[in-house]
Structures are given as structure tokens and as C-alpha cells.
């Protein structure tokens, strides 16, 4: 019974923590620009992140080690520093987008300009990390994130064309705007396969003291949790295909995004959208800040742990403090949060192999996994999708930048 509850809670928190500004904005752009045609990119991205999350939980449960710890030990300091540099740079842009997303939600709700909300959001996020526990972040914020289910209600209420949606699950070439089509596809992949998600999940497994008896829980949580998370992203795409595409609305701002729920659910839909965007982005802000602090502290051998009081892990606590400040600064410096979202998601996709390939090497090393190393299916799915994302990113980002 205890395990069933663990699985249920894990699935619920995974679903609640899945959507953030990246997946909402990119899925909406996909639906608004290309109808159901890009649904495949959400499914491909979700499959990849489900495999990666399962692997990261299995790695923690079997080896008792964190991923940065093993990366440093297996590949050495210089390679570890190279991986960290790329991941921190890209994730800081994503963090800026998430803080901007929360601020945009408050702007929509109050009418007060976005820039006035950036500092309060950064302070709230920092206070939650400083005073809170891992359980509060993992369960509390993610449970609140279940409000994102409003996108499913909106999509079903809008009466989707299920036949077109089914056809969209099969990858097809674009019928117009090919550069933009591939750029949006790459952004959707980047938003779905965020490396911070599996670093956060793996560190959580260590914080929760998982061992091999948790392998079953891990498989269910990763598979079903991420699967339902991907379902939410598809719902956003479907809503956009129903509401935005026929009206010829391209997603240029957050107000355009709010039409996804208001068109079907009216005023309550607007407030549910504001809550969903604000909570989802705040949750992602917390997860990214913690994931980067974990990445540095574990690789450099510091004391770390969200459940340790800050004075017992001062460098770890300072790291997430500085990271939140930089994320807020990026938005305050004038970066347009929606453009920042697009470019950071595409860069995430383009840089995926940097973090993913060394991780796959670890996942096939018996020294860490014993008899629980990867099978050929997991290796193939993650390898092919991450390299595909990189190739598409390297080609489509310059084309999109040149085109715009």
C-alpha cells in the first residue's frame, strides 16, 4: 500500500511539475502555426524525457550516487567543467524565461507591468529554497501545478479533430514556412527534454534515500508521470490549433496564450490560465535553481542538500541564490521573456548531447549500475532523439534568426 501511494504521489507531482513556460509557449506556437501537424514533436520529446528520467532515478537507486558526482569521477575534472559550463549557460536562459513567465502571469492578473514583478518573484523563490525542504518543493509546488490540467479541459471542450491529431502524431514535412516549422519543432523538443528535469529528479532520489527496491516505483513514476505531462503539452497544442490557428493569431505575447483557456472557459478560464502559468513557472524556477546548485555542489564535492539548513551548506545555498539573481537580471535587463523562451528552448535542444551522451556512458557502466545497465531500446531512443534535436537545432536556429 505504501508503494502504491508513493507511485501515485510521484505520478501526480511529475504531472504537476511537467508544464512550464517552455512547454506551454512552444506547444501553443506549434498549434497556432501548424495546427496538429507538430504533435509528433511533443510525443518524441516526451518519450525521450521519460527514458531519461527513468534512467536518472535508476542510476541514483542502484549506485547511490548523483549524476554530477559520477560524471566528475568517470570523465575527470576538465570534461565535467565543460559539461557544467554549457548546461549552466543554457539553463540560466531557461531560468530567465521561467521567472519572466511567472512575472507575465502576474502582469496579466493585475495589469502591473511585468518588470515590477521580477524581483518579488525572485525573492519568493529564494525564500522557498532558503526556508523550505525538498519535500515542500517536490510535493507542494508540484501539486499546485496540477492546475495546468485546465489545458486538457480547454482542449476537450473545444472539440478537437481527433483524426487530424492522430495524423499529426506521425512526423511529416512542413506544408509552409519550413524554417519556422523546424525551429518550432526543435523548441518543442528542447522544452520537453529539459536536462534540469532529470538532474533534479536524480538528486531528489538521493535526498529521499532511494535504493534498488525503488526501481519499480521509479519506472511507474517516470513512465506514467512524464506520459501524462506530455499529454498536457499535447492539450496546449490542440487548444492552440482550435483557438489560435483559425483566427490567424500567431503567439506574440502572453495575452495570446491566455486565449487558449478563455476562448472555451470564459473569465474563469482566464484566471485558471494566470494561476497555471504563474505556478508552473515558479515551480520550474525552483527546480532549475536547485538543479544547477546540485550540479555544481555535487561535482565540486561540497556539502549539499535542500534539507540541510543553509549554514551547513553555505556554498550550495549561495549558488542557488546567485543563480536566481542572474535569472532575474536577465529579465530585468530587457530580454523579452517569450523570445527568451524560444531561443533558450532551441539552445537546450541543440546542446542536448553535451549532457546526455556522457550520461548514457554512465548508464552502461556496470561499475555504477551492476546488473541494471541500460537496454538497447533506452540507449537507442535517447541517442537518436538527442542527436536529432542537436542537428535540427544547429540547422534551424541560424535560419530562424536570419529569417526574423
Amino acid at each position: 500500500m505504501k508503494r502504491v501511494l508513493q507511485i501515485a504521489l510521484g505520478i501526480v507531482t511529475s504531472v504537476g511539475g511537467f508544464l512550464e513556460i517552455g512547454s506551454i509557449a512552444t506547444a501553443a506556437q506549434a498549434g497556432a502555426g501548424f495546427g496538429y501537424r507538430l504533435a509528433w514533436s511533443v510525443v518524441v520529446g516526451t518519450a525521450c524525457i521519460a527514458f531519461l528520467v527513468e534512467m536518472s532515478g535508476r542510476f541514483a537507486a542502484c549506485s547511490g550516487r548523483t549524476i554530477p558526482d559520477a560524471l566528475r569521477e568517470r570523465f575527470g575534472g576538465p570534461v565535467y567543467l565543460a559539461i557544467v559550463t554549457v548546461m549552466v549557460c543554457v539553463s540560466l536562459l531557461v531560468l530567465g524565461a521561467e521567472i519572466g513567465g511567472s512575472a507575465a502571469a502576474l502582469q496579466l492578473g493585475t495589469g502591473i507591468p511585468l518588470r515590477w514583478w521580477v524581483a518579488p518573484i525572485a525573492v519568493v523563490a529564494w525564500l522557498i529554497l532558503w526556508r523550505g525542504t525538498f519535500g515542500l518543493i517536490e510535493n507542494g509546488v508540484s501539486l499546485l501545478g496540477l492546475v495546468t490540467v485546465v489545458f486538457v479541459v480547454a482542449a476537450i471542450s473545444g472539440g478537437p479533430d481527433y483524426g487530424a491529431l492522430a495524423r499529426g502524431l506521425v512526423p511529416r514535412l512542413p506544408d509552409h514556412k519550413p524554417a519556422h516549422y523546424w525551429f518550432v519543432a526543435v523548441s518543442v523538443l528542447g522544452a520537453s527534454i529539459s536536462p534540469y528535469l532529470y538532474y533534479f529528479y536524480s538528486s531528489g532520489a538521493i535526498e529521499d534515500k532511494w535504493d534498488v527496491s525503488y526501481l519499480g516505483v521509479n519506472r511507474w513514476v517516470a513512465g506514467i508521470g512524464m506520459g501524462f505531462g506530455g499529454f498536457l503539452s499535447v492539450a496546449v497544442l490542440v487548444s492552440a490549433a482550435i483557438v489560435l490557428k483559425p483566427a490567424g493569431i500567431d503567439v506574440q505575447g502572453y495575452r495570446d496564450l491566455s486565449r487558449l483557456t478563455t476562448a472555451v472557459l470564459g473569465r474563469p478560464g482566464f484566471w485558471l490560465f494566470v494561476a497555471a502559468l504563474g505556478i508552473a513557472c515558479l515551480g520550474a524556477t525552483l527546480e532549475i535553481s536547485l538543479a544547477l546548485a546540485y550540479l555544481l555542489a555535487q561535482g565540486l564535492g561540497w556539502e549539499w542538500g535542500e534539507d540541510l539548513e543553509p549554514r551547513r551548506s553555505a556554498r550550495f545555498s549561495l549558488t542557488y541564490t546567485v543563480i536566481i539573481a542572474i535569472g532575474a537580471f536577465i529579465v530585468l535587463a530587457g530580454a523579452d521573456p517569450l523570445k527568451l523562451t524560444n531561443i533558450s528552448m532551441a539552445l537546450t535542444a541543440a546542446s542536448l548531447p553535451v549532457g546526455v551522451l556522457p550520461f548514457l556512458v554512465l548508464m552502461n557502466d556496470r561499475k555504477y549500475l551492476g546488473d541494471h545497465t541500460n537496454g538497447p531500446l533506452g540507449n537507442a531512443v535517447v541517442l537518436v532523439i538527442s542527436i536529432l534535436a542537436m542537428v535540427l537545432g544547429v540547422i534551424s536556429i541560424p535560419l530562424q534568426v536570419a529569417g526574423s
Binding site: 575534472g77 576538465p78 565540486l300 556539502e303 549554514r311 553555505a314 545555498s317
Partner: protein
């Protein structure tokens, strides 16, 4: 003291260090060997610190990190732990002292005392 044969790169370099109370105390960022005429080199110490790690990437990066490290911690050289003071405990390398009593945790201590404790008052 480590009595069994170890592979310096696979078993020592980049390994997690823990102190006498099993608290994380950084990683082995460098290994120091004494070169002796007519004899094989002998490992005498390990080094812990960002400057040593940066030096494995580039000299310029190490010089820049050294300037920042000096400003933050007042440290003028990486911390060295004698080889004889190390032993394996589980999968970690352990030294027999409190990490807070060593310069390894200079920045951690400074943050604790000057920033966190002062902020609470």
C-alpha cells in the same frame, strides 16, 4: 594510510574527499609526486582547490581563478593534504581532521559567519 596499490587517475584524482566526521570536503583536484633521481616518483600529497582544477584546463583560467580565490579567501596556494594522512572509507577518501579546521572550507566558513549568521542577527 593507503596500503593497497591504487591507480592514481582512476582511484584518486577527482574522488570525493570526506573529513573525520564524514562531511564532504571537496575533491581531489591534483596529485603531487616527488621526482627522485634514480628512483620512481613518489606520491607525497593531494591538492584541493579550484585553482588546481582550473590549471588542468588552462594556465590562463588558473591565473584568473587564483586572483578570485585570493580575493575571496585570502589563500595564496592550493590546500595540500599529505598522502600518508589519507585512507579509503567506503568509496571516499578520508582525512583525519575536521574540514572546518582546514583552509579547504575557508569560503564556506566565511559565508557562514559573515553572511548567514550576520543576516540572522
Amino acid at each position: 594510510m593507503i596500503s593497497r596499490p591504487v591507480h592514481l587517475v582512476a582511484d584518486v584524482l577527482d574522488e570525493q574527499l570526506v573529513d573525520a566526521t564524514h562531511r564532504n570536503a571537496g575533491r581531489v583536484d591534483g596529485v603531487i609526486a616527488a621526482v627522485r633521481a634514480g628512483h620512481p616518483p613518489r606520491v607525497v600529497a593531494i591538492e584541493v582547490g579550484a585553482v588546481t582544477l582550473a590549471a588542468r584546463v588552462s594556465r590562463h583560467l588558473a591565473a584568473w581563478v587564483a586572483r578570485v580565490d585570493r580575493r575571496l579567501t585570502g589563500r595564496r596556494a592550493p590546500v595540500r593534504i599529505p598522502w600518508d594522512a589519507l585512507r579509503y572509507r567506503d568509496r571516499y577518501l578520508q582525512f583525519d581532521a575536521d574540514v572546518d579546521a582546514t583552509p579547504i572550507n575557508a569560503l564556506e566558513q566565511w559565508l557562514r559567519v559573515r553572511v548567514i549568521d550576520r543576516g540572522r542577527r
